[in-house]
């Protein structure tokens, strides 16, 4: 019997708190990403070294994506969007290490990421428009749309969570099933497919986060112009 993908394995307990496998893997990923970034940015130079060139390439690609998707100055969004992308990519690809299950295959990790995106939408929206201005966007086409817009803010975060969870978890699940049916080396093509899906899902998660933040922030220029005229 294959164990439920909705339950996480408890590794050890710290006091009354059980530490599950995804939490431990997340800590490991955080440590690796932080250490790599610290090492790469330790001695920045005008003429980049090899590591700095790789880092500049990543940051430049993230900036270009934000510029293209949100059509806004990318600087304020690069730290969050870039970290989200790198973390989800590393988490999805952590299944390459033997014995490690990607933490994004458990819904708690995805829920945490989705909640981060939810609150950052609120933060960027309120920062760009002010509290009243952001609340006014809920009545945007007409006042009738308020309940729909409220429901939409919740459901799109939920769909963000379930999309990442479903894709990564189904990959892990399928590899597990094929491994139990066919044996060693057979699931390798599926694992390769899983790498592709992991990269695409990391990209889509961050692009959708950008789109949501952009819609909370970016409409400002259009409506702001109209308000300026009417005043």
């Amino acid at each position: 019997m294959i164990e439920s993908p909705l339950l996480a394995k408890t590794l050890f307990t710290v006091g009354p708190i059980p530490i599950t496998e995804p939490v431990a893997v997340t800590w490991g990923l955080m440590a690796v990403l932080t250490l790599a970034s610290l090492l790469a940015t330790r001695s920045l130079a005008i003429v980049p070294t090899r590591y700095q060139a790789v880092l500049e390439l990543i940051v430049g690609a993230v900036e270009a994506q934000i510029q293209g998707t949100m059509r806004a100055a990318p600087r304020p969004y690069v730290p969050m969007i870039g970290t989200l992308f790198l973390f989800i990519l590393a988490a999805n690809w952590s299944s390459l290490l033997p014995g490690v299950e990607p933490p994004t295959a458990h819904i708690e990790t995805d829920a945490a990421l989705g909640v981060i995106v939810f609150f950052s939408i609120l933060y960027f929206g309120i920062r760009a428009r002010g509290l009243g201005g952001y609340l006014a966007t809920f009545a945007e086409p007409s006042i009738v749309m308020i309940p729909l817009n409220l429901v939409e803010t919740l459901t799109r975060t939920f769909s963000l969570i379930v999309r990442l969870f479903g894709n990564v978890m189904s990959g892990v699940f399928i590899v597990g099933i094929v491994l139990s049916l066919a044996g060693l080396l057979v699931p390798i093509p599926l694992m390769a497919l899983e790498l592709l899906v992991g990269a695409i899902q990391a990209y889509i998660f961050t692009v959708l986060a950008m789109v949501f933040i952009g819609s909370a922030v970016g409409g400002e220029r259009r409506t702001g112009g109209n308000q300026g005229e009417s005043r």
């Binding site: 909705l6 379930v162 999309r163 479903g166 978890m169 889509i204």
Partner: protein, 81 residues
């Protein structure tokens, strides 16, 4: 194995199989439309494919919902136990 479990397994199979039909057709249409657009306007391929990926992810979520419902029915069924 009692009737609830048997019905749950069939419900999961039906949820996934029928839930895959709609998104499959929709993704086919979306990709066909994007190919058409790229063939007409190759210089807009970057924007089109980026929008296509996001749209495909949106469509695919419907199939993933069905998968999650099937897993809930199989592994976290409130009527068993």
């Amino acid at each position: 194995m009692n009737w609830t479990e048997i019905v749950s397994i069939f419900a999961a199979a039906i949820a996934v199989s029928f839930g895959a039909i709609g998104p499959a057709l929709a993704e086919g249409r979306a990709v066909a439309a994007a190919m058409d657009a790229i063939a007409r306007q190759p210089e807009a391929a970057g924007t089109i494919s980026r929008t296509l990926f996001v749209g495909l992810a949106m469509i695919e979520t419907m199939a993933i919902y069905c998968l999650v419902i099937a897993l809930l029915v199989l592994f976290a069924n409130p009527f068993i136990r």
